[in-house]
């Protein structure tokens, strides 16, 4: 009897102390889901979703207060990744099936004002004052910030030209069978 009480007391207090210590020491700061979601988002902080940058959007997604289709530059790939992460159905019908775009400088009317490359969140524009600006295709996320600040409308989002490397077969179209006449 005595031994049972003592051993259980010791065991209980030891476990309690350990749990109390672990709760303090191993405390998780914030929701880890937010960080995981942020890792999925493009991270260009373009603000097209209406939140101040990708961190805000990730928080809203984790709180389930924003739809997973909120990120226009992310496109379908991000929607699918988010659906997988959050365990919700990806309703791709909401995603505007916009063709992948890319910023392009119309060289005749670029005045070299440097405004676009100052706002580009991924440093995808090269240029200098009074010099022609140019876009690195591989780095452009088509966030559209440059388009907004351009005074001469010389930088515009254009659909990415299809190259031999990126081309692939379209999905076969199944036509409904015609009824067989008797």
């Amino acid at each position: 009897m005595f031994f049972a009480v003592v051993s259980l007391t010791i065991l209980g207090s030891a476990m309690g102390l350990f749990l109390g210590y672990a709760a303090r020491r191993l405390e998780v700061e914030g929701n880890p889901l937010v960080e995981e979601i942020q890792a999925i988002l493009p991270g260009s902080q373009c603000g097209q979703c209406g939140f101040p940058g990708c961190a805000g959007a990730a928080q809203a997604l984790a709180d389930r207060s924003a739809p997973i289709t909120l990120c226009p530059p992310g496109g379908r790939a991000v929607v699918q990744a988010l659906a997988l992460k959050l365990g919700v159905e990806a309703n791709l019908s909401d995603v505007k099936d916009n063709v992948p775009m890319i910023a392009e400088v119309k060289e005749e009317i670029c005045i070299g004002c440097t405004r676009c490359f100052k706002v580009c969140p991924t440093d995808a524009i090269m240029g200098a004052a009074q010099q022609m600006h140019s876009v690195f295709r591989e780095a452009c996320t088509a966030c559209g910030k440059c388009e907004e600040v351009c005074p001469t409308e010389s930088i515009k989002l254009q659909p990415i030209p299809v190259t031999l490397h990126a081309w692939y077969w379209h999905k076969p179209v199944i036509q409904p069978m015609q009824a067989v006449s008797a």
């Binding site: 790939a77 991924t122 440093d123 591989e138 031999l164 999905k171 069978m177």
Partner: protein, 494 residues
């Protein structure tokens, strides 16, 4: 010799009789050649010539870049007319970077280093010569051959298999090559063996090519090369099927043939290796079968790389009536050409002009789950289930069923009684998955850029703040010093 059981496969009508008995003819040099910089699996070649440069036949005009790549050589002597985009032999009809050469009619070779005894060369030298000659797998896979040689030597392959399958209907260029140039092929085979140190050498030839079998057997007499007849069925020319027939071994799903100690090369590749090692001549021409019901005079032509497909058709007497479809390669795996104004590349084994009677145009009907495609699949996949996943928009689900192992041979589409375009589904899904992968990679890259930029902006702001603080401190110190000096002066005055 005992052959091993094979999985799947179909028996399409061979239609090889159209061109099989036509001896190889050399195509007269066309006026202009369009040599694409990417004719192989891997990175495109980097152009080494400028517009207006004079080039000799066999001169290096494009250098391979990276580990998996192949150099490109001038197919004739002449002048570089242009370097730019030209329609590629591709179903999309898009353009690809191409070097255009205007032939001067002399067809003068660059002086090359002839090896008096190629068997005295070390394996390294042979591999280097093959690499420098820009040889790629000529059965259609166009994988750089030197990479395969080096990989095989590293893995100490035991068995060298030379693929004379040529299972695609209509195509007869390898058949003709074996009939007419068997001795050269056998020499090439022995050089490859010398380069990789294989113990066993087998040449597998489909039994529907008795003349080629006889010629090769005669040429291989007295050498260590064994020529073996294999059953005629499609896709016998798939390297892994050939390995299974001759050795009974199976290449693991995500492995290479070298993993099980086997190296497979095409007969035409062996021929090109002999040219490269003995005469130092790069791969600048190849045999192409011109066939199909619309071609007046089908045949087998030796064509410089970069010749337009239309030139080949013209040389073969043009068309008897408008062809319903033009195909580059065989009818099972070849690609439909929108225009005949595209160049022949290193991997082009044939060009076909088919009549409407030769092509099927039946509307697809629903799947009846007869599982004919499962029995036909040489890889052992479930084409009907894979296609169902893809049709429902779940390409990822089809990967779990083995989409990545699909070789797009077309057996399933061929046997489907409902005419479902199964291979089309698989090609689409493979493309879609690759596209998703590309998007993901780009997103990771742009995220790094965005992070770097944010960090830089924060650093600049911090440096500015620090500089401002420093200036402020300096100003204050100066003011304090001035004040103290003033105070001192005042006390001195007092």
């Amino acid at each position: 010799m005992k052959l091993f059981r094979l999985r799947g496969g179909v028996h399409p009508e061979s239609r090889k009789e159209l061109a099989a008995d036509r001896a190889i003819r050399v195509l007269p040099m066309p006026g202009r050649l369009y040599v694409p910089l990417l004719q192989h699996v891997g990175a495109p070649a980097q152009p080494l010539v400028n517009v207006g440069d004079k080039v000799l036949k066999g001169q290096l005009i494009g250098a391979g870049q990276g580990v998996i790549s192949a150099p490109i050589h001038a197919p004739t002597s002449g002048r570089v007319l242009a370097i730019g985009d030209f329609p590629a032999a591709h179903p999309s009809g898009l353009t690809a970077p191409t070097i255009t050469i205007e032939a001067d009619g002399e067809d003068r070779w660059l002086e090359t280093e002839v090896a008096s005894d190629p068997f005295a060369l070390t394996p390294d030298e042979i591999a280097a010569r093959v690499a420098a000659a820009g040889i790629v797998g000529m059965g259609g896979a166009t994988f750089p051959s030197a990479v395969k040689l080096n990989l095989s030597r590293k893995n100490r392959v035991r068995t060298l298999i030379i693929n004379g399958g040529e299972c695609e209907p209509y195509i007869t260029c390898d058949d003709r090559l074996m009939r007419e140039r068997a001795a050269e092929i056998v020499e090439g085979v022995r050089l490859i063996r010398h380069a990789v140190g294989a113990i066993e050498i087998m040449v597998g030839i489909e039994e529907n090519k008795p003349a080629a079998l006889a010629a090769m057997q005669a040429a291989a007499m007295g050498t260590e090369v064994r020529v073996i007849a294999v059953p005629a069925m499609y896709p016998m020319g798939w390297d892994k099927q050939m390995i299974r027939a001759l050795t009974g071994r199976e290449v693991p799903a995500d492995g290479r043939t070298a993993d099980i100690g086997v190296l497979v090369h095409n007969v035409a590749t062996a021929y090109a290796v002999r040219d490269a090692v003995r005469f130092g001549r790069p791969l600048v021409s190849r045999l192409v079968t011109v066939s199909g019901g619309s071609v007046v005079e089908p045949g087998n032509l030796e064509v410089p790389i970069g010749t337009l497909v239309e030139t080949l058709f013209q040389y073969c007497g043009g068309f008897a009536g408008k062809p319903a479809r033009m195909v580059l390669g065989g009818p099972m795996m070849g690609v439909e050409l929108a225009t005949a104004a595209v160049p022949i590349v290193k991997g082009s084994s044939g060009v076909l002009a088919l009549t409407s009677g030769e092509i099927g145009s039946v509307q697809p009907a629903p799947c009846i789950r007869c599982s004919s495609c499962v029995r036909a699949c040489p890889v052992g996949l479930l084409p009907l289930d894979m296609a169902a996943h893809i049709r429902a928009g779940d390409s990822t689900g089809s990967v779990a069923l083995g989409l990545k192992d699909c070789i797009a041979c077309g057996c399933c589409s061929f046997v489907c009684p409902s005419h479902i375009p199964l291979v089309h589904y698989f090609n689409f899904a493979k493309g879609e998955l690759m596209e998703q992968e590309r998007v993901k990679l780009k997103q990771e890259a742009t995220k790094k850029l965005a992070d770097a930029r944010n960090e830089r902006i924060a650093r600049i702001a911090r440096e500015r703040a620090e500089a401002a603080a420093k200036r402020k401190a300096a100003r204050e110190a100066k003011e304090r010093a001035a004040k103290e000096a003033a105070a001192k002066a005042a006390t001195e005055v007092v």
